[in-house]
């Protein structure tokens, strides 16, 4: 069983969906996520074990390797696809309360900025690790975030900016949230921002990569 779970983690890391999938080339013909989950279910392995010891283990490696610059955007896309596929299979087999999420997180690219790849990568890593992401999209102002917070219970907010011309808008959003009495922690990320910048604009957390944000959520808000 442990061997099957380890193989499943590797398939998530490599984005291997089933034995027919061509990605990655060096695993052609081998079992993918589909076959391995099928085998694990036949052994009556609980969904929690499959998720935690197989799928999440794989996604954690993806997050860490991306952080270290050893995996890149295409790899994360393939892994996220395999992860979504695995979760779809499990959702058909188990009632939703057995696939419980850790909490909800708002993600948004700030006002003026139309770049969503960084935000989307964070989304994939968080969702792949059991967090529900409310994706507000790009060019998002504080009003939209405040509105969403009124509708639903959120554990943290992640703000993204790619441009030096838009990163200052993070400051305004954080000020607006605090002026409205909102205490939900705000994390920031994106190419031009830094830990020092985060401190200067009173953000609660900064990470240069998605897995840093994931660790923050898992350790502090789970």
């Amino acid at each position: 069983m442990i061997d099957l779970l380890n193989q499943l983690a590797i398939c998530i890391e490599k984005g291997k969906i089933n034995s027919q999938s061509k990605i990655p080339a060096d695993m052609a013909g081998k079992d993918g996520v589909e076959e391995l989950i099928d085998k694990l279910l036949r052994l009556n392995i609980p969904s929690k074990t499959i998720i935690e010891d197989g799928l999440l283990k794989g996604m954690t490696v993806v997050g860490e390797k991306f952080r270290d610059g050893k995996l890149f955007i295409p790899n994360v896309l393939f892994s996220a696809k395999a992860m979504n596929h695995a979760m779809d299979i499990l959702k058909k087999q188990f009632p939703s309360d057995q696939l419980q999420i850790k909490g909800k997180v708002i993600l948004a690219t700030v006002k003026g900025d139309l770049h969503n790849i960084g935000k989307n990568l964070v989304k994939m890593i968080l969702e792949g690790n059991g967090w529900e992401v409310i994706d507000l999209g790009v060019d998002v102002d504080s009003e939209k975030i405040i509105q969403k917070l009124k509708e639903t219970d959120v554990k943290a907010i992640g703000l993204s900016a790619l441009l030096t011309t838009t990163m200052l808008n993070m400051k305004g959003i954080i000020e607006d949230l605090r002026n409205n009495g909102i205490k939900v922690p705000v994390a920031i990320g994106g190419a031009p921002v830094s830990k020092k910048f985060a401190e200067e604009i009173n953000a609660d957390f900064y990470s240069p990569d998605p897995s840093g944000f994931l660790d923050y959520l898992n350790n502090n808000l789970n």
Binding site: R67, D68, G69, K70, L71, F72, I73, P74, N75, L77, K111, G112, L114, H115, N116, I117, V138, D139, D141, L162, L163, T164, T165, T166, M167, L168, N169, K171, P192, S194, K196, F197, E200, I201
Partner: protein, 297 residues
């Protein structure tokens, strides 16, 4: 011979410009709106940025058109002005240039072919209108800058080649990983990116943005080692920005970049300037060092 190539042949090293986005902010641009709309609405302000760079000693400058492809302008409800905004961007820089040179700035769309969020046809259309505007506005070359995705680069290069034989400069952005190696966001190494550009027949290659002048030295070294014949443009950021009393401040001040500029000159870089956070003060220093270097050669 084209004016860009003949100028490089005569002068050997050209000094380009510094940042545009951060200069617009200094002039009161409110982030959240469209920076390129200023070409039509605040022409004088954009002209003064261009003019300041020539005053500081630039031989070649770019245009305020980094993000004015159709896809990005669509978001601001300006898609039908794509051609007009880009043509004006070129005209503004050209009017400041007089006999000097202008390269039309073109940045990525921010969309990825690999995710299926955009088709190759849409990409080409989006760039095509921008490029037509820049060419009709009179630019001497096109500068594709801050690219990180070879699929998107492929689309822009093929689009421009269908339109014109104008010289093209392709500049990519790299990140340093935990082992100190450089890769694009999509995972392409320095060697892969520049082999690809050579294969596509690009006239000049470049490296821009990134973490600053000093990281760029290593990238240029690697390009020169693998492809000694390539003509290179280098336009790094002035380090990463920080906030000091509400203002964005960049750590690599004009004085700090001096050793890096000397290295670039020694390595035989053809065009040296700056990206985000660099100012006319950076360009003055680069001009001074370049003149000194050329006088001693």
């Amino acid at each position: 011979m084209n004016k860009l190539f003949s100028t490089i042949e005569t002068k050997r090293v050209l000094v380009s410009d510094g940042a545009w986005g951060t200069e617009l902010i200094k002039k009161g641009f409110q982030s959240g709106s469209c920076p390129e709309l200023w070409n039509l609405e605040k022409t004088e302000e954009v002209f003064s940025i261009a003019n300041n760079y020539f005053d500081a000693g630039s031989d070649i400058i770019s245009t305020n058109s980094f993000g004015s492809n159709r896809i990005k302008l669509e978001h601001f409800g300006l898609a039908d002005k794509t051609y007009q905004i880009n043509k004006k961007a070129a005209e503004i820089s050209k009017s400041a240039a007089k006999e000097k040179l202008v390269m039309g700035s073109v940045g990525p769309t921010g969309k990825f072919l690999i995710t299926g969020e955009i088709s190759e046809e849409e990409l080409r259309q989006s760039f095509s209108e921008q490029l037509k505007g820049l060419i009709d506005g009179g630019v001497d070359a096109i500068l594709f800058e801050t690219f990180y995705d070879l699929d998107e680069l492929n689309a822009v290069i093929e689009t421009i080649r269908d339109l014109s034989n104008i010289p093209i400069i392709c500049s990519a952005t790299f990140n340093k990983n935990s082992e100190g190696e450089f890769y694009t966001l999509m995972g392409n190494s320095i060697r892969e990116v520049y082999s690809f550009l050579i294969e596509k027949g690009v006239d000049l290659v470049g490296v821009n943005c990134g973490n600053g002048y000093f990281d760029s030295i290593e990238i240029v070294k690697q390009i020169k080692k693998d492809f000694p014949e390539l003509k290179i443009l280098v336009q790094p950021n002035a380090g990463l920005p920080e906030i000091t009393s509400g203002q964005l401040v960049y750590s690599e001040t004009p004085e700090k970049i001096i050793p890096a500029i000397k290295d670039f000159l020694e390595m035989g870089v053809s065009i040296i300037g700056g990206c985000c956070g660099t100012t006319k003060e950076h360009i003055k220093i680069i001009r001074e060092l370049t003149d000194k270097y050329l006088a001693n050669k």
